[in-house]
């Protein structure tokens, strides 16, 4: 029988703690590799430098996103949206192809839970030792082991929060601020916030996040069809379970399942895969590894629990190329191509015009009418440029600014206040015109922005 500890207090009622048993095998190895690679990327990437700055930095205070050689500005927000759509569609594609690959190997929830479980095993021992420890009274050994676990968890969570903030605030100076205890209030807040989220999700909520909080877990079945790879128990081969196949009286009428319940004990969500596909199954394949090891020991063929498709179980042939896959694949390719085109054909600079809202217009002593605008020039190029400003569409308009031309450093945004003046008596009310910015060193680098000029 499945052993369960008494119900513990948690955000969701009637929850019983799942003690996943340690498992080794092909898929466990694969999952470990995924954990190392993904966590390595998360903790390592902020420290990578590129052209004398952090390679990946979402610089929110400066409103600039650095992705290696690429610098994105708020005006490129649509690219980020596009990227998210690509990510969502990739999820659909891989789900249709191979089921919940994402859940089992790549989801941050899985990856961090794996690390937290590893720390739990380090301090509290294996599954049965953990269960024994939880039943034991709060005495020295228990306090010591539980305390050690909490210290490990808390420091790892804090480091995770620090790394997370390091994607938004340069991590090297952030590290110096931590060492000298000079973190700004917001940095400290987000380190603690993200650290607590990691601690709660990976330490306590675990499979409950997948069961109650994850929207993907609820709708992933919409992407499934009869040819999607799922983890399944071969009931025709396994049942009737529990009878010993070698006893002479039972030869010929016993299934291969010896009912050792190891597949249940290793399951991180605490389900019994032999009851068929369930929405709680995150397809981590721990039960496959456990069952294969048992089958090896018993001396029967592996694969009583295996990656399979509904069609295969029903005796049909597995089909990989099917309309669903082709459609998802084609749309995904089109989106990727479009994204590549959009990135490579980005406008090298943008011009934003904002009216000064305090005064609509001003009449000068010489009779001219003046409107004040603030211009923002966003130079997305890797080189700096000198720009000349001009007004178009207003008779006799002159642009007066503190400098006749304007230099904008590479990948920088410069704001300048300009005064547009037209001779008096020419017009009344509002009139649309254009403000132009032209780079002096390159005739192709020009941008125009519409504005409105008001006169008495």
């Amino acid at each position: 029988m499945m052993e369960l500890a008494s119900a513990i207090q948690s955000p969701y009622a009637a929850h019983r703690k799942v003690y996943p048993r340690e498992v080794s095998g092909r898929f466990a190895k694969l999952r470990n590799i995924a954990v190392i690679v993904l966590l390595g990327l998360f903790y390592g990437l902020p420290w990578v430098q590129w052209n004398h700055r952090q390679a990946i930095l979402f610089d929110l205070p400066a409103r600039k996103f650095y992705l290696f050689g690429l610098t994105l500005f708020p005006q490129d927000f649509y690219l980020l949206t596009w990227l998210l759509i690509i990510a969502a569609l990739s999820l659909f594609f891989f789900t249709a192809l191979a089921g919940r690959l994402w859940c089992g190997y790549a989801c941050p929830q899985t990856v961090w839970t794996e690390i937290f479980i590893w720390m739990e095993r380090l301090t509290e021992g294996n599954r049965s030792q953990q269960m024994k420890l939880d039943r034991a009274p709060w005495r020295g050994r228990k306090i010591l082991r539980k305390g050690a676990k909490q210290i490990l968890w808390a420091s790892f969570a804090a480091f995770t929060g620090f790394t997370f903030v390091g994607f938004f605030s340069p991590i090297e100076s952030l590290a110096r601020e931590v060492v000298s205890a000079h973190l700004s209030a917001w940095e400290l807040f987000w380190v603690v916030f993200y650290g607590l989220a990691t601690y709660g999700n990976a330490g306590f909520l675990r499979e409950q996040v997948c069961k109650y909080m994850c929207p993907y877990a609820r709708f992933q079945s919409a992407m499934f069809d009869r040819n999607t790879l799922v983890i399944s128990y071969d009931a025709t081969r396994g049942e009737p379970r529990g009878l010993h196949p070698r006893r002479p009286s039972q030869v010929g009428r016993s299934g291969d399942c010896v009912d050792c319940t190891l597949c249940v004990q290793v399951c991180p969500t605490g389900i019994d895969i032999r009851q068929g596909l369930q929405y709680e199954c995150i397809a981590c394949a721990a039960c496959i590894d456990a069952c294969d090891a048992v089958m090896d020991k018993v001396g029967t063929a592996r694969g009583l629990i295996r990656y399979s498709t509904q069609a295969e179980i029903d005796g049909a042939v597995r089909r990989v190329l099917r309309p669903r896959i082709l459609i998802y694949g084609c749309v995904l390719l089109a989106l990727l191509a479009g994204f590549g085109y959009a990135i490579s054909h980005r406008a090298p600079f943008d011009l934003d015009v904002l009216r000064d809202r305090n005064t609509l217009y001003r009449e000068l002593d010489d009779g001219r009418v003046e409107n004040v605008f603030s211009l923002r020039i966003i130079n997305k190029d890797q080189r700096g440029h000198q720009y000349r400003l001009a007004a178009e569409g207003l008779n006799g308009a002159m642009i007066d600014s503190d400098t006749p031309t304007l230099f904008v450093d590479p990948e920088e945004v410069t704001t300048v206040v300009v005064r547009v003046r037209v001779p008096g008596g020419q017009q009344h009310g509002g009139r649309d015109f254009k403000i132009l910015a032209q780079a002096l060193d390159s005739p192709n680098l020009r941008a125009a922005s519409r504005a409105r000029f008001f006169s008495p």
């Binding site: 955000p11 009637a14 929850h15 980020l80 917001w186 807040f189 987000w190 929207p215």
Partner: protein
């Protein structure tokens, strides 16, 4: 199965609803914040003196904006959960014969 679903109307059910509402509203607030601030720069808003001076500092504005959105998305999510739950109770009663 490991557990049974919490009973309708029980405190644990309420906690479950609050948890789900917090989470879905967190996601929505995150998307809302990034979309909102992609188009509006708090620093530029500050030039009009229409917002308090501490909000002109971008990280402060982003943080405050996020929690502002979260508050309202949570209100919407919690209300949705409450309406769905209570309607189930109402309709369950009307099935007994009383409209």
């Amino acid at each position: 199965m490991i557990e049974g679903r919490a009973k309708s109307g029980s405190w644990s059910r309420v906690k479950e609803r609050i948890g789900v509402a917090l989470w879905t509203s967190f996601l929505a607030a995150g998307v809302e914040t990034s979309a909102f601030f992609a188009f509006l720069d708090p620093w530029v808003l500050g030039h009009d003196e229409t917002i308090p001076s501490w909000l002109v500092v971008r990280p402060a504005a982003y943080g405050a904006g996020f929690f502002f959105f979260w508050l309202f998305t949570f209100a919407a999510a919690a209300l949705t959960a409450y309406m769905l739950d209570s309607s189930r109770k109402v309709f369950a009663r009307s099935d007994d014969g009383c409209p």
